[in-house]
């Protein structure tokens, strides 16, 4: 079993708080576990990949995913189910039903939030608007300005979720649309540089919203050799994000990449495409005295996860 070894901090803080006897669940508990489940680039893969010898043939399938998520929900008290965009495009289900079934099934699985990928614009702003009522979950996007379009004021940049008193801030970032999406499909939607936007989001979620964990749903892509912004560059340049759930590049990662930055570290994860895998990261929260254990006091080397049996 792989695990990352953290320095043990003084337990004084945790013991102290329990003396107060407040009944708020998170404050009463010694530790709380949060389970993040995630997908990206589902590409309308309702049914499993055809089992015709292709790579990952026979894998995936939304009805199976529903079973898996239901099982995890029964085992875990605090689940957040998230998607990093490109829900649409890739099978005839999208061509014939325009994304309706994808949103319906995700709503049944109780997705908590998604962000927008470039292919989610494939039926234009109107096509997106037509299907949004089918989704019971919000689309979070902080760096697209829909001002002056039919989708103006339709999306929030972030949402704060509360689980047992823990506050989890989730925000969304989209890729530059020009060159990827036909102009007529995205219209006057403006793309804004994700780096300053992410900095603002971290500030807002940490300072004003008092979040204990900050998650970015990103459709920027995992890594490019060019200057183009990607999840690894974002993690390096914007401290304060705990987890980037990525998409667009259809990258399969055996485990999340840990990026060191000025504020500590950021995990970057992505699970390929088509719902072949369900991403899962469990965070165990322990009450610590902030003065005694700064974020920088965290851990051991990150690119060399400690292997224990």
């Amino acid at each position: 079993m792989k695990r990352r070894d953290f320095l043990k901090a003084s337990a004084v803080g945790a013991a102290g708080i329990s003396l107060l006897g407040f009944p708020l669940p998170a404050e009463a508990a010694q530790s709380v576990t949060l389970t993040i489940l995630h997908t990206n680039d589902q590409h309308s893969r309702i049914d499993p990949m055809p089992n015709d010898g292709r790579k990952y043939g026979g894998m995936g399938g939304m009805a199976r995913r529903a079973t898996l998520i239901e099982k995890i929900r029964k085992e875990q008290p605090n689940v957040l189910l998230l998607d990093a965009g490109d829900i649409w495009q890739g099978t005839p289900y999208f061509n014939f039903f325009n994304g309706e079934l994808e949103y319906k099934l995700m709503s049944r699985m109780q997705y908590d939030a998604a962000t927008l990928g470039n292919h989610d614009f494939d039926n234009g702003l109107q096509g997106l608007q037509n299907q949004l009522p089918k989704a019971t979950f919000p689309f979070l996007i902080a760096n697209y300005n829909f001002g002056g379009t039919i989708l103006e004021n339709r999306f929030q940049p972030y949402k704060v979720f509360e689980k047992q008193g823990l506050r989890i801030g989730v925000f969304g970032l989209g890729i530059e649309l020009a060159g990827l999406v036909s102009k007529e499909n995205y219209g006057e939607t403006q793309y804004i540089d994700p780096v300053p936007v992410a900095q603002e989001m971290v500030q807002e979620l940490r300072q004003n919203q008092k979040c204990d964990l900050v998650i970015c749903l990103s459709h920027l892509g995992y890594s490019y050799k060019t200057d183009k912004i990607d999840d690894l560059k974002l993690a390096k340049q914007v401290p304060g994000i705990d987890l980037i759930i990525g998409g667009h590049t259809h990258t399969f990662l055996d485990e999340p990449t840990v990026v060191q930055n000025a504020g500590g570290e950021t995990l970057v994860n992505q699970v390929g495409w088509s719902g072949i895998f369900l991403g899962r990261i469990d965070f165990t929260f322990n009450k610590k005295n902030r003065q005694k254990t700064g974020v920088s006091a965290l851990v051991l080397p990150v690119d060399n996860p400690v292997l224990t049996s």
Binding site: R4, T67, Q89, F94, G179, I281, Q291
Partner: protein, 284 residues
């Protein structure tokens, strides 16, 4: 009453010079919790003041084991979800399972040129020509846009949807000679852009001996190129295509063009094969 005690507590905490997130959380409590809070207020105040408001924060330790859970055949499909999908699937299956052609060999992708790439760029010209009504010199696609190979054996409508799921339209661009040169430079650099109507040789990482319609490429001339509206708009880094001097819609979706080509081949008693004449010569 509750509000007043909260205020007092808040003031005292502020005075200690610390910003306690604690206070904010109290205000969010449901009423019954506030009452319980009041009862224990004396204890709480003492504890807080003794503790001099040391901010306490939740610190998260991620578990990095098993972070990608395979969704495979060991997981039973959820019956209720299946029931929602079923009527959609029935309609899709009916439309998709129609067999429209036969391929003796699978048509796949490769660098520079490939059976699948040649097949698509050639049919783009063949299917657009009658609608466009004027000669089309060149045809272009990219490997990224061709989502799945065409399988060996029977080809059905579903296979073509897998190959070309996008609602991309065919357009004819008019390009001046320097833009055409940039396009060939791109094709050589990226290796993922099959070009129809032309042959060329890759030498020292550059395109040489470019022939269009069998004639040597003339940088002083303009050429017409059929491609998808997606690529014409600069998709897949084809920014030079945005310099087209003219853009004309063919009035045909690329996927419909592929379906039509296969249906016509079958109607003529021909299998689905790609032209295998070498178009790109790569010198060592």
């Amino acid at each position: 009453m509750v509000n007043n005690t909260r205020l007092v507590l808040q003031l005292r905490l502020r005075r200690s010079g610390e910003d306690c997130t604690f206070v904010d959380k109290l205000s969010n409590r449901p009423p019954h919790m506030k009452i319980r809070f009041r009862k224990s207020l004396g204890v709480a105040l003492v504890a807080l003041l003794v503790g001099a408001c040391q901010p306490l924060a939740w610190q998260a330790s991620p578990s990095l084991a098993n972070t990608d859970v395979p969704v495979d055949s060991t997981i039973t499909a959820d019956p209720q979800t299946e029931a929602v999908i079923a009527p959609y699937r029935r309609q899709v299956t009916e439309k998709m399972s129609e067999v429209i052609g036969f391929a003796p060999e699978a048509l796949g992708k490769a660098e520079y040129e490939s059976p699948l790439g040649n097949f698509v760029v050639d049919l783009q010209i063949a299917q657009s020509q009658p609608l466009y009504g004027k000669p089309i010199d060149l045809s272009l696609t990219t490997n990224g846009g061709l989502r799945q190979p065409l399988p060996k054996g029977e080809i059905n409508v579903g296979d073509v949807f897998e190959l070309m799921p996008f609602e991309n339209e065919l357009v004819v661009l008019t390009l001046d000679g320097s833009t055409v040169q940039e396009l060939f430079d791109y094709a050589v650099e990226k290796k993922w852009a099959p070009i129809g109507g032309a042959t060329y040789t890759v030498k020292n990482g550059k395109p040489t001996d470019i022939k269009i319609g069998g004639q040597p490429f003339d940088p002083a001339k303009s050429y017409t190129l059929v491609t998808s509206d997606y690529l014409a708009g600069g998709g897949d880094d084809l920014n030079m295509l945005k310099k087209a001097t003219k853009t004309e819609k063919v009035g045909l979706l690329l996927r419909d063009a592929i379906l039509q080509q296969i249906r016509q081949l079958t109607a003529a008693g021909q299998p689905v094969t790609a032209d295998t004449d070498s178009r790109v010569t790569v010198l060592p």
